[in-house]
Symmetry: C2
Subunit: 294 residues, 2 copies
DNA sequence: CGGGCTCTTGATGGCAGTCAACTCAGGTGG
DNA sequence: CCACCTGAGTTGACTGCCATCAAGAGCCCG
């Protein structure tokens, strides 16, 4: 047995099922949009009245409109989507779906981060997917998720019931093609991750991870272009460790090492400043520039 | 730096481009299936005239007809496919495509094994995909492969030029849907592999790998059902190591260990007999039965 | 101030990587 | 026929990276 600890399962599990009523503050602190479904799920003492007020953004004004599956929809189709879609909101640590259990919806991440996780019997866990805004969640043609799906931060999903969505795929070839394209991209990303998990050192993994976050932030238009880049880690050290196939101690040590050597600057524990993106990429072990000129 | 050696690159590279005509004996030695494909495959030193003669099996009689992308084609469509398809054959170690270079065809593996490989600058390599019969190769909508594609054994591909195939996808929604389904399966498989590379011990990796081969052999109808299962490893120890994120020495040691303990029986160096599939699965660390009651 | 968490840092040990020698089989050429 | 070569695979000795165990720091919040 190797990597991934057993001793902390209890603690981990505790995180994943937060006490009701305990997290209210965090809602307010970091939540921008609301949703009726979020209410139904999270049940943290929001009144029905409050819940009803949660607005859905019109598709035309949606931040991920041009990156998600729905990017393939014509303006005409948007109206149809508008009627079918519904929002769901999750708190950090909350389960969106359990491995093997029924999951009869699909959706896109509007904001926040979700993680797909696999766990071995003895408790070793590996994150096998990190869904950022515009990423697609769920599998048409299958009624259960093979993975645990967890909200890693405050999470807002734009959902569709699975059956109608499958129908949409059949009737709109362009949506189907878009989903295929996105799935192929996911596959490429997963294969890059295989290289990371199979061959990279702890230090390289951390650097690669940060580089991925920087690139995604750039794609979503949160980038500064040139000069130092600032990103906020949406994950705890433990979640990062699960993603990178390391332990949280090793993650912490390597982040500290990168900080000591000036590759990154930390502001608090979650905010990372990258003075020189190229330097970071060098540390990641990849062959140089993967976009974002820095 | 960690795992994956640099010292043997030269040797590795040599293997990947074998001398023409050199491999004849091994072809004969390791080929059991007497199918038309097996035959066509084992040819070495074919003249141009011979090459032209390579017979194409009619789609209706194709062994992978019901598992590959083309499974979604109606009987009517087969005729059209028949006209567009062409076979390509590769020897073990031969490159099918180089990372980053132009690749203007897609195809299905008819027989043999192909590997997708990623390599870091310093020579560490990781196999990120193993294509067995009926698996799809290539990416519609992109004109180069991001990975090296190598024949790991004698390999027969059923190919289509990329443009016409993309047209086929547009005109036949069922084929498109089939490709989406296959891609989603690939993604799931890649995610299982992430768990393996991120969290499993060397021993568990070997056992998992063997279990995968057993299941695939069963799917392709080469399985015995109950009783001891016999599989022939289509990969060298080095290729297995590249796939499992280990070194070839570790692969060798763990295979020996499993043999010593009776989990497997070796016949020569490439043939593996599995007396008790359930035992193997236990060693793989996965939560029990993933099909094939054994 | 005390109780949880998250995160950091230190000490130690184990698994797999590294280096190296050897076996074995097939193929080649004298 | 035998010496020799080459490439695949096995095994042993040693090393090093990262997991493990442990303690403490920093922070939020009640």
């Amino acid at each position: 047995m190797r990597r991934g600890r057993i001793g902390r399962i209890a603690r981990h599990a505790r995180v994943k099922q937060p006490q009701p009523g305990q997290l209210r503050f965090r809602f307010h602190a970091s939540n921008q949009t609301g949703s009726a479904y979020g209410h139904a799920l999270t049940q943290v003492k929001i009144s029905a009245a409050e819940a009803a007020l949660i607005q859905q953004v019109p598709c035309g004004a949606c931040l991920i409109r041009h990156r998600a599956v729905c990017a393939a929809c014509e303006a005409d189709d948007l109206h149809e989507l508008e009627l079918a879609k519904y929002y769901r909101r999750f708190e950090p640590g909350q389960m969106v779906a359990h491995a093997g259990e029924r999951m009869d919806f699909v959706g896109s991440v509007v904001s926040g981060v979700a993680g797909l996780t696999q766990t071995l019997e003895d408790g070793r866990t590996q994150m096998v997917g990190m869904l950022l805004p515009s990423d697609f969640l769920g599998r048409p043609g299958r009624d259960s998720s093979p993975y645990d799906v967890t909200a890693l931060s405050d999470l807002l999903l734009c959902c569709f019931r699975r059956r109608p969505f499958e129908e949409l795929l059949r009737s709109r070839p362009r949506v189907s093609a878009r989903l295929l394209e996105m799935t192929l991209d996911d596959l490429d990303a997963a294969r890059d991750w295989l290289l990371l998990l199979g061959r990279k050192s702890a230090r390289e993994r951390i650097a690669s991870f940060l580089a991925v976050l920087v690139r995604r932030a750039a794609m979503l238009g949160q980038a500064t272009g040139a000069g130092p880049i600032v990103i906020d880690l949406p994950l705890t050290r433990e979640a990062i460790a699960d993603y990178l196939g390391l332990t949280l101690e090793t993650v912490s040590r390597q982040i500290s090492a990168l900080r000591r050597e000036g590759v990154i600057v930390l502001e608090g524990t979650r905010r990372v400043i990258v003075p020189d993106f190229r330097r970071l990429v060098t540390e990641s072990g990849d062959d140089a520039d993967g976009g974002l000129p820095g």
